[in-house]
Symmetry: C2
Subunit: 458 residues, 2 copies
Amino acid sequence: MAERLVVIGGDAAGMSAASQARRRRTADDLSIVAFEKGRFTSYSACGIPYWVGGLVDERDELIARRPEVFRADYAIDVRTRHEVVDIDLDRREVVAVALDEGRREVREPFDQLVYAIGALPVQPHWAKEGVSGVFGVQTLDDGDALHAWLLRDPKPRHAVVVGGGYIGVEMAEAMVNRGLTATLVERGPQPMSTVDPDMGALVTDKLRTLGIDVRTGLAVTGLDHRDGVVTAVRTDDGTIPADIVVLGLGIRPNTALARDAGLPLGPTGGIRVDLRMRVIGAPGVWAVGDCVESVHRVTGQPVHIPLGTHANKQGRVAGINIGGGYATFPGVIGTAVTRVCDLEVARTGLLSVEADAAGYAFVTATVESTNRAGYFPGADFMTIKLLAERGTGRLLGAQIVGRSEAAKRIDPLAVALWNGMTVEDMVGLDLGYAPPYAPVWDPVLIAARKAVEALGVL
Amino acid sequence: MAERLVVIGGDAAGMSAASQARRRRTADDLSIVAFEKGRFTSYSACGIPYWVGGLVDERDELIARRPEVFRADYAIDVRTRHEVVDIDLDRREVVAVALDEGRREVREPFDQLVYAIGALPVQPHWAKEGVSGVFGVQTLDDGDALHAWLLRDPKPRHAVVVGGGYIGVEMAEAMVNRGLTATLVERGPQPMSTVDPDMGALVTDKLRTLGIDVRTGLAVTGLDHRDGVVTAVRTDDGTIPADIVVLGLGIRPNTALARDAGLPLGPTGGIRVDLRMRVIGAPGVWAVGDCVESVHRVTGQPVHIPLGTHANKQGRVAGINIGGGYATFPGVIGTAVTRVCDLEVARTGLLSVEADAAGYAFVTATVESTNRAGYFPGADFMTIKLLAERGTGRLLGAQIVGRSEAAKRIDPLAVALWNGMTVEDMVGLDLGYAPPYAPVWDPVLIAARKAVEALGVL
């Protein structure tokens, strides 16, 4: 009899695991059942703001692989609109309910289990009170609901985005692109706390030139509504009209099921896994994607960094291992890039506040340079900030805010940081140079030089 | 009395050395005299094709710093139109002639000497016979002469570029952009031998769609002329009409002076230097830029890779050392990028032929992917090829041919290679992901995955 693999969660992480396992083991050897609460599989949640904003025309462009493809080409029994409500580790079975069949109960036995139900938007109390017009942007079903709301008659005109992280900023821009007014409410001193304040200020300026009303140091206390439909956001400093409210307060690992089943959660709230993505202390159980915590390779501490790229890698690792191969997930270094209108924002490693918290003594160096030779058409400025450890000179973090061809310059910095390079060594790096692509000193190298000077080691 | 530094060659390498030394030592402590044969200092020779082709409007945009700036702001006594004709190491002086003053002889004593007179275009016998209309593109004076030739009356209509390396390809495109017909004559089987043949074929196709007549396996044997002005290029398979001939046969270190002075040359023909850019066996003499050979960090062998970025780094290193600091040049890994119309071409590490020659057993993996998420507007294809060593899995080389946002993806690959990463380790790299900048698996990571599969290690 075939070994039985059950996957909970049909997005990137879970389906990567399933398809990698399938590539290595036939259906005779391994049966695979995947439960997905929503209607879609393997889609790009990261693409939702661009579809909502109108840059991507069709929702279905965000879908990499549909359930029927998994069924036909991968012999994976995908069951959408099935919500898993219990994991029974003793009996080795999961209990699911079929949402479109009157919550009919399905019990599915497993030998191997992949837990991959991602994360949930952080919901303040006021978002749970049943007022309509309040949306997270975590799943494609969420995006679908939000998108439909924008097409209501009369059309919503005023959007309030609560929380100024990546998603909040991207959604505020999407609202403006849809022709709504947008207010971005951030409790902290400024949005984009995913970069240092001096770098974030560049982004805040850009948001304001887009016409986004950025309100900082402001807490949302509740919602006003008419007939259950939101009309305004109440704050500790007045109300803001709102026909639609978008939650951008971050997301937390979706672990209720895991906790109930007794799977171990770490200090970040994510499920604890080993290098091969096995849940610690639970033989035959794997967890991947936005629901797990990862090791930060710089600090060695657990972190929860929900990103599609990690989810895909982790799914692949689990799938290879389930398939009988060997693969490990080496951890993360906090690389992230985003676009705010024509600004590109990128980071890797530690922010200043994170480096402080970890106990590092460090210097910072900030430079302004261009993406191309200064004389080349299309040359644009970018700002790069580096953090380097005192004493060792090791790169601890990097941030970039620029216009074209800026964000992905975080990649050579990420690889340098990954390998523990010092900024002094980085000055010698042989990066690509030609006038259309870089000044003769690439901005990355100029930043490294400046950091060397800040260390005072020459 | 101040120590005396004499710099021979006023372009990037020499003037970087001079200005770095000046930053650390006052004019009272160190006098600096720089001789430059041409009229310009510190310019971007790499930008000449773009100026000739009309993308860059003004020649002077290519000049980073003029002689008068070095004189006024750096207290560096720059003497343009002065050709150094002899270096007397015993008497510690150089002999120069003032080209605009009837070759008046100048003798200049030195304590420290920086040799930085770059490289010369390879000139076949027929290019030395005094026929007008034949140009190298090595110095800004060369570019100036070529540019002036294009404005003759009647205007040249037919260009022949001899040699299909970076410069040849860039100049063929520049000629087309100026409205000339262009024939690219390459002795080998195809142009762009700076990448593997399968990757180079993509570039050849593009050159042909640009209207460039690419003629391969063809050797130039001589020139036809009328009144000393070129009219055609003779080959071993007929003649090609030509009003202008551009040399793109590569360049060789300009070492005649060095050889006469007894400075050591290596197997590549470049001057041999140590890590601090000191000429080996010649105390107080430094050499930097296109005239020196470097160590290739993968093979450990000496190579001659003339590039502005290396010249600048080497100049900086020499200048810091002369200034009393400590810096080293760590060698190169052969990274290079170029643009051919809307194609971006990049490489780092070893080509297949180079890896073979060095004795490596290796696998190759070639993938096609996109620069952005496939659904994101502006997504464009690129091809990435990796070489990985059998057994160790270490990355040996990478090549990219693509459209937008392709070339600089060589940088994370270059940093990975620099650090001796295996392709298996590279799959886990935390590179920047967001739909406007990458698919959820960056092309670099997809290529690494494919290389892992080619190694068969999972």
